[in-house]
C-alpha cells in the first residue's frame, strides 16, 4: 500500500542528491581535488569559469538522461511488483 509513496520519496531524494549544488559550492567547491564533485558544479565550472561550453552542455544532457532513467527505472520497479 505504501509502495508508491516509498517510490516517490526514493525518486525525489535520488534526484535531489544528484542535483545538490549549493551546499557543495559553498562548503568545498568540489575539492579537495575532485573528491566531492557533483554534476551540477562541474557544469557550472566548465561553462562559466573555464569557458568549456560544449562539455558543459554534454554533461547537462548526460545528467538529464540519468535523471530520466532513474525516475522511470524506480517507477517501473515499483509498478511491476505492485500488481
Amino acid at each position: 500500500m505504501m509502495r508508491r509513496d516509498i517510490g516517490a520519496a526514493l525518486t525525489i531524494s535520488a534526484v535531489a542528491a544528484l542535483q545538490s549544488f549549493t551546499l557543495i559550492y559553498q562548503a568545498t567547491d568540489g575539492g579537495p581535488g575532485y573528491a566531492t564533485m557533483v554534476p551540477g558544479l562541474l557544469i557550472y565550472r566548465d561553462a562559466f569559469q573555464l569557458g568549456a561550453v560544449g562539455s558543459a552542455s554534454a554533461l547537462g544532457i548526460a545528467m538529464t538522461v540519468i535523471i530520466f532513467v532513474l525516475t522511470f527505472g524506480i517507477r517501473a520497479l515499483i509498478e511491476r511488483k505492485a500488481t
Binding site: 544528484l18 549544488f21 559550492y25 551540477g40 557544469i43 561553462a47 535523471i67
Partner: protein
Amino acid sequence: MLSRTERTVCLIILMAAAVVTLYPLITLVSTALSGSASSGGISFSWHMSLTGFSYAWRNGDFSRSMLNTAIVTVAVVVISTVIAVMAGYSVALAKPPGARWLLYAAVFGFMLPVEALIVPWYYQFSAFGIVNTYWSMIVPQAAQSIAFGTFWMYVAFRSVPRSLSESARLDGASSLSLLWRILVPNVAPAVKTMAALVFLWTWNAFLLPLVMVSNSSLYTVTVGLSTFTGAHFNNYSALAAGSCLAALPVVVVYLFAQRSFIAGLFAGSLVE
C-alpha cells in the same frame, strides 16, 4: 494497529531525526545571538546580543538583496500561479485538442534539471541582452514553476467531482467564471500549497541568480549571503545572523501556509 514496541521504535527514529534537524538550527540561532565576532567555534551562552545581526545588515547589503529577492519571488509566484491554474484547468477539464501533449510537456519541463538548462538559458539571454536584469531570473524560474504547477493543478482539478462543473455550466457560468469562482475555491489548499512551494524554490534559488547576475546591486539574498560568507568568513556570529536573515521570510511563509500546506500535500497524494 501498531504494537507497543513498534510505536516506541517509531518514536525513537522520529526523535533522532528531529535532533539531527534541529541541532544545527539551534546552534545557528545561538551563534547569531552570541554577538562575539571573533569566536572561532560554536558555543552556547546566555548572553544575548544583536551585534551579529546589525553587523551583517550593515556590511552584507541585506536590505538591497532582500528587496531584489522579494521582487523576483513575488513576480514568479504571481505569474506562475495564474498561468498554472489556467493551464491545469485546461488539461484536466476543458481538454482542448493536444491537451495531453501539454501535460506531457509540463511533466518533462519540471523534470529537466536547472543545471542542464542553465547553459542555453545564459547564452540565449546574453543574445537577447537581458542578462543582469530581473527578467533573467524571473523568466526561467517562472517557466519551471509553471511546468510544475500545471501538473499540480491538473491533479487537483481532476479530484473535483464532474457534477460540480456540469451544474455550474447549466446555471450559465462561462469558462472563466466557472474556473475562478467555482473550481479555484474548491481546490484552494492545492493552490496555496503550490504558491508556497514556488515561493520557497524561488527564494532559495542559488544557481540561477548566481549565473544570471554579476551586478552586485541585483544580487538576490542567496548570492549576497554567499559573497558575504566569502568576505567575512571568520565572523561566525555575523555569518549565522546573515543566514538567519536570509531564511526568515521562508520560515514566516511556511508558518502561515503550514495548515493548507499539509492539507494540500495529502490532497495530492490521495487522488486516484
